[in-house]
């Protein structure tokens, strides 16, 4: 440690303090938002609007009476299978496009067209084909998730620095070794970002699929509740989707930080 060690320490401390301050500000904003929500709920008709407290109470009630669990299980399965399939297909196809000009030429127009198509519009068609069982929802989740994953993987792998490949070649790396040691780790942050976007699209797929035709699920629950003016139940459903999206997004951000420390801000 040089003569500047102590100064550096002080700078670190000075930087840490506002960081904690911003965290506090964020929490405060959240709490104030909830309070405002609750206050508005006090002055509005319960038939149209419920507060956070009521929502939480309804959530617990639905769990106690066992009404919620089967819906969660079904929607969870739809999301899991659809997303899993999208990852299993999106990542390899994206990588293949990045390394083979031929595959790129064949897949790229379709990926672009289908990515541009509002996949929500496919909802009724998919229900018509596959019925109201789980498979139609899995397909819709898949269709929502696969393109963000595929395109992110493709772009990520394509943009891995050409110089980096040159380094590998200079050490005599074979194509396979270049793929494993440069392309995959280089594309990884993009792949994970693709997962994040895909998961959000997947959740949309669940909701849309269950809206157009389903025997259950959280989305279905929301629409059923709307028909009976059970507003609190609707709020529970919406909150569940919101929290799911948040948790997945947050978890994948953590993974990304783990796999790709260099994409984070530089330490001072």
């Amino acid at each position: 440690m040089g003569p500047y060690g102590s100064t550096a320490g002080k700078i670190e401390e000075a930087k840490a303090a506002p960081r904690r301050g911003y965290l506090f500000l964020g929490v405060l904003s959240l709490v104030l938002g909830l309070v405002a929500w609750q206050i508005i709920a006090q002055f509005t008709n319960r038939l149209f609007f419920v507060g956070p407290w009521e929502t939480a109470k309804t959530f617990v009630l639905l769990l106690r009476t066992g009404q919620l669990q089967p819906q969660l299980w079904l929607s969870g399965q739809e999301l899991f299978y659809g997303f899993g399939l999208a990852a299993l297909i999106g990542v390899p196809v994206g990588l293949a496009m990045a390394i083979s000009k031929g595959i790129e030429a064949v897949v790229d127009p379709w990926a672009s067209i289908l990515y541009a198509t509002p996949r929500l519009a496919l909802g009724p068609l998919v229900i018509l084909w596959l019925g109201i069982g789980i498979s139609s929802k899995v397909l819709l989740v898949f269709l929502g998730a696969v393109f963000p994953i595929l395109i992110n993987t493709y772009v990520g792998a394509k943009n891995v620095d050409a110089q980096m490949k040159r380094v590998a070649q200079a050490f005599g790396a074979t194509r396979r070794e270049q793929f494993q040691s440069i392309l995959i780790p280089g594309a990884l942050p993009h792949i994970i970002a693709g997962f994040r976007m895909g998961a959000i699209q997947g959740i949309l797929g669940v909701i849309v699929g269950e809206f157009f035709g389903s025997r259950g699920g959280v989305g279905n629950m929301i629409f059923a509740a709307a028909e009976t003016f059970d507003t609190a139940k609707m709020f529970v459903g919406i909150a569940i989707f919101a929290v799911t999206g948040l948790v997945i997004s947050f978890a994948l951000q953590k993974v990304e930080k783990r796999c790709a420390p260099w994409t984070q801000t530089l330490p001072e």
């Binding site: 110089q163 980096m164 040159r166 200079a170 050490f171 005599g172 070794e177 420390p261 260099w262």
Partner: protein
């Protein structure tokens, strides 16, 4: 430090110092826009004795890097041949005993690997990976070159946490870890600030003393070339040719203080006047240099 010296001596004994022979090498690049191919190298004939430190200087874009990569084998010559230790060079991928390594201009470290991981990289891919070195052997080497380049305490750092000078040390250590007999350096210090560059030059000389090998070093910096080299190859521009081999009369075992000595200055002026013609010719105007190129006073 004694342990380091003993270790270094043990390593050095195993490193051969082959000569590098470039015979009648041409390199042409085709271009979609021009009908005529671009001639990057024209009839380059050079012999660098084994164990020598040779610098290549010349105007920007004169094919210095191309020559370096042709010697390495990464870029095949259009005509002519390159021999290292009497053996014709092949693409590194097809070379069973890869005895050449490149230190790149930008460090080009793999950002997802630590310093130690980066240094080990050359042993984990390519022909050296197929030699199936034991993990312990790889670790030994990594540790040795961490020590030699003064990076031991940074082994677990990631490249983005290092300064430019330290990244270049990793770059150097990564090349050295493959135990190349010929070390090819492509302007490795050009992006560093002046002070760091001087220290790195001294360090490179020290490393070359402890582990002798044949070195080919590209630079724009005449002082750098004079300070480091035995031979200085002067290249002309477009098409690139080696027009002169300048033998450095300064004795080896130099340190930085030599740069302020009368003789060093004189040689530098002499080298500059030789190079100046090439640079002016390459600029095609012969007029005063207006783009801020570093010129000796």
């Amino acid at each position: 430090m004694r342990a380091v010296d003993a270790d270094a001596a043990r390593v050095a004994r195993r490193i051969e110092t082959p000569s590098v022979e470039v015979a009648g090498v041409w390199k042409m690049y085709g271009s979609a826009r021009h009908r005529e191919p671009m001639v990057a190298l024209q009839e380059v004939n050079v012999k660098i004795e084994g164990g020598k430190f040779a610098s290549i200087i010349g105007p920007t874009g004169c094919g210095k890097s191309t020559l370096l990569y042709v010697i390495h084998g990464l870029v095949p010559p259009s005509r002519g041949s390159v021999r290292v230790g009497g053996m014709p060079v092949e693409h590194p991928r097809d070379t069973a005993d890869l005895n050449r390594a490149v230190v790149f201009q930008d460090a080009m470290l793999l950002p997802w690997k630590t310093v130690a991981g980066n240094i080990a990289y050359g042993l984990e891919v390519g022909p050296l990976a197929r030699k199936a070195l034991k993990r312990a052997e790889i670790n030994d080497r990594v540790e040795h070159y961490l020590r030699l380049t003064g990076l031991t305490s940074f082994a677990r750092y990631y490249p983005h946490e290092l300064s430019g000078g330290m990244r270049q040390r990793v770059n150097l250590a990564r090349a050295l870890a493959t135990r190349p007999e010929v070390l090819l350096m492509d302007e490795p210090f050009s992006a560093l600030d002046a002070q760091t560059r001087e220290l790195m030059q001294e360090e490179l000389l020290r490393i070359c003393e402890t582990e002798p090998r044949t070195v080919i070093f590209i630079t724009h910096d005449l002082e750098e070339a004079l300070f480091l080299s035995d031979d200085i190859l002067i290249m002309s521009c477009r098409p690139g040719r080696v027009v002169e081999v300048f033998e450095n009369p300064l004795p080896r075992n130099r340190d930085l203080s030599i740069k302020v000595q009368e003789e060093f200055m004189r040689l530098k002026r002499c080298l500059w006047s030789r190079l100046e013609t090439e640079i002016r010719e390459s600029r095609g105007d012969g007029g005063p240099d207006g783009n801020g190129r570093r010129e000796p006073e």
